[in-house]
């Protein structure tokens, strides 16, 4: 808060005097008297300032009165400024939807729909820093090299993955933190099923984590729902469907997710 607004702050905290309105009204009522007194008594520079201000006020007032009188006699004296929106009589009462307006509104609508398509149960997640995600592993004979990283979060590693030779492996996904299945809840049916994970669609933290298959809260995973027996509109059994992780797997030791329907 700016330091000079202490009066406002005080009013906010303590309110106004109880007779504030009354005092304002009285002050307003005596305004004329004050001005008259000033006009008579002020001298020097202050008188000059005062008279200048008073003169400007009077001119403005007279102009206003004159304009009022004219408009009473014969309408507004100056023609209306052209705003480029003149329409012939036969179009006046119609809602002519401006084409530019229509286009912009349709674009907005489309954006809205698009956003709706990608709206997920957990729209925002906490950021995870690299220090938290990776543990630096020292290597070398004297343990002075530190190019190796180990992921501290749970990961999904695809079927048939073979680790690279130790010499080459920069990022380690610990076998103990690998997850193959998730507890997936169907939000409408209210049932939870333990389903195999097919892949990581998107990790909101970073595309690199998506590639690595890191499972954090808010990650979209693809799960195998053939057990649920869902059927498409065409009558085929659905087997892959997206779900979003709702818990922090590294805190719970399991993956809980909600199905995106």
């Amino acid at each position: 808060m700016p330091q000079n607004e202490y009066i406002e702050q005080h009013i906010k905290q303590h309110g106004k005097r109880l007779d504030h309105e009354e005092r304002q009204r009285k002050k307003q009522a005596r305004e004329g008297h004050r001005v008259a007194k000033d006009a008579q008594n002020l001298t020097g520079w202050r008188a000059k300032q005062f008279n200048k201000k008073r003169y400007a006020e009077k001119v403005a007032m007279k102009k206003k009165i004159k304009a009022h009188q004219e408009s009473k006699l014969n309408g507004p004296s100056t023609p209306k400024q052209d705003d480029g929106e003149a329409l012939p009589t036969y179009l006046l009462d119609r809602q002519t939807n401006n084409t530019a307006k229509a286009i912009s509104s349709s674009i907005k609508q489309k954006r809205l729909e698009k956003a709706d398509k990608f709206s997920v149960p957990i729209p925002k997640v906490r950021g995870v820093s690299e220090e938290e995600m990776f543990k630096v592993i020292k290597t070398g004979k004297k343990n002075h090299k530190s190019w190796k990283r180990m992921i501290t979060k749970h990961t999904f590693v695809g079927e048939g993955f073979t680790r690279r030779p130790v010499k080459m492996e920069r990022i380690i996904r610990p076998a103990a933190l690998r997850q193959k299945k998730a507890n997936v809840t169907h939000p409408e049916l209210g049932v939870t099923v333990f389903l195999p994970i097919l892949g990581v669609k998107k990790n909101p933290q970073s595309p690199m984590y998506t590639q690595l298959g890191v499972l954090t809260k808010g990650t979209i995973i693809e799960v195998n729902v053939s057990e649920l027996g869902l059927v498409t509109a065409g009558g085929k059994v659905v087997w892959g469907k997206y779900a979003q992780i709702t818990n922090e797997p590294d805190r719970d030791g399991c993956v809980n997710a909600v199905l995106l329907v």
Partner: protein
């Protein structure tokens, strides 16, 4: 947005490959018996005449002129066959092709041919833009030619002024400034001496057409904007008076103004919603169409009493056209008049001439019969004979969007309707039956204007073009691009020399052949 004719459909292509019949009149067509009958008076001339079955229109015309005894100045005619059910079948080219071959009549039958004189002069189709005159500071909302002179034209615009243009030199002549808001409608008085402008600022102003000076101050009284203006027909004006003015307004009233003392004679309130169009007919009845779905007829000779309420429309009534519109607008002038004509004629002569012109347009089979067509937002039009009945003669349906404008041809034989479904439709002006559709515009058609000889029509549209249509062939005659934006107003001068148009691009354009 030039019109591109769509490629022929498969059906059209197949039809083009078919063996075509040749338009030849066979030699062995026997003679037939015919009789001529005038379309306006119903008189027949010459008794029964034996003519060859393959007689052409030209030959019929010659024959009829001989019967009338007018060999040196022949009058052109159109002929149609009077059918069994009092319907008319137009004769084009020759009798064999139009009547005998389609089997309307056989050679044994007696035929009655109804003849209508065509305009003795011919308006050449406009083909080019003479001038684009800048001057208005805003959208042009309305334009009208003077009834007596194609050299004078008045436009109203969104910059609160109306302007009078000299079309001969293509220069602005006068600026009529006084309104404080958009000028929505302009109307020349049928004597050509006054211009009335109605505006968004709820007032009407009168101007002297010759000097561009205002006549008095504004006519105030309406509480909302003026939507339409209509002058009293010249033949109804009391001797020594100037014609009165009817104005319709958004506030739901119609007012009749006395133009010499400039005060409101009477206010006709009865509509419950905005009045969109007002027309003063030659029988001294004012018709008003309104957004409350009704059309009301007000008898002016009885002090503005509502004598009829026509209630068939299901949505706003947008526009009214009378079969005598053109005759009433022209007043005492014809295609050869100039501004000098009105000065050389006395007031009585003018009224006499106006009455003649109006009667000629209004008479059908010797009886005065003003027809009316109303266009509406419910996509249909109704054909009325309001002096005879409060029931419509016919419901004219076919448009797929609202109908914005209808116009009777100057001779009252055709009606055209312009609609927001991009099409213009032609209807029979005597009975209201559908005749054909004019397609070509690619956006809503706003207005149409007839040429004085009934042969041509010009339409203005949202697609920035004007199009000239040939009524006889029902085809596009000329496409006139030129405007840079929507065209809101179009008018064809009464001598047929010029067309003026204006719209959103703030340019007044003059077109000629």
């Amino acid at each position: 947005m030039a019109t591109v004719i769509p490629p022929p459909s498969k059906k059209q292509k197949r039809e083009a490959q078919q063996v075509r019949e040749v338009d030849l009149v066979p030699d062995d067509v026997p003679n037939v018996l015919i009789k001529f009958q005038a379309s306006d008076t119903g008189e027949s001339i010459g008794g029964s005449i034996r003519v060859p079955g393959g007689i052409t229109e030209k030959q019929l015309e010659e024959l009829l002129n001989q019967l009338h005894g007018e060999s040196d100045e022949p009058v052109p005619y159109t002929f149609s066959l009077l059918g069994d059910k009092e319907d008319l079948i137009d004769i084009r080219d020759n009798l064999y092709k139009s009547v005998l071959k389609p089997g309307h009549k056989t050679t044994e039958d007696f035929m009655t041919l109804v003849y209508t004189p065509r305009a003795v002069f011919k308006v050449r189709p406009i083909t080019r833009s003479n001038a684009a005159i800048a001057g208005h500071g805003s959208t042009i909302l309305c334009c009208e030619f003077a009834p007596n002179d194609s050299g004078r034209m008045c436009t109203g615009a969104g910059d609160s002024t109306a302007r009078v243009w000299d079309c001969n030199t293509q220069t602005p002549l006068y600026t009529l400034s006084g309104h404080s808001n958009w000028v929505l409608c302009v109307a020349y008085s049928p004597c050509g001496s006054m211009i009335a402008t109605g505006s968004m600022d709820n007032t009407i102003r009168l101007w002297d057409a010759d000097s561009g000076k205002p006549i008095g101050s504004a006519l105030t009284g309406h509480s909302k904007w003026i939507s339409s203006l209509s002058w009293e027909p010249l033949h109804l004006v009391k001797a020594g008076d100037s014609p009165r003015l009817a104005s319709a307004s958004k506030d739901g009233t119609v007012k009749i103004w006395e133009t010499t003392r400039r005060h409101c004679l009477f206010t006709m309130s009865g509509h419950t919603n905005a009045v969109s169009c007002v027309k003063w007919s030659g029988t001294n009845i004012v018709y008003s169409g309104s957004h409350d779905k009704t059309i009301k007829a007000w008898d002016i000779s009885a002090g503005g009493k509502c004598i009829q309420t026509l209630k068939n429309h299901a949505h706003w009534v947008n526009h009214i056209s009378l079969s005598t519109d053109y005759a009433l607008r022209r007043g005492c002038f014809d295609h050869a008049s100039t501004r000098q004509t009105s000065k050389t004629m006395s007031a009585e002569q003018r009224q006499q001439k106006a009455l003649e012109i109006w009667e000629k347009a209004a008479k059908l089979n010797g009886v005065i019969n003003e027809r009316m067509v109303t266009a509406s937002d419910d996509f249909t039009m109704y054909f009325w004979e309001p002096t005879k009945s409060s029931k419509p003669v016919l419901r004219m349906s076919g448009h797929q969007k609202l109908v914005n404008h209808v116009a009777f041809s100057p001779d009252g034989r055709h009606v055209v309707s312009s609609s927001f479904d991009n099409s213009i439709k032609i209807w029979d002006g005597l009975r209201g039956t559908f005749l054909g559709t004019l397609r070509g515009h690619v956006a809503p058609v706003y207005k149409t204007a007839w040429s004085a000889d009934n042969r041509l029509l010009v339409s203005c549209s949202k697609d920035t073009t004007l199009k000239v249509w040939d009524i006889r062939t029902r085809k596009l005659s000329v496409d006139l691009p030129g405007h840079a934006d929507e065209v809101y107003a179009v008018d064809w001068s009464t001598d047929g020399k010029r067309v003026a148009s204006g719209g959103k691009d703030k340019m007044v354009r003059l077109w000629s052949n």
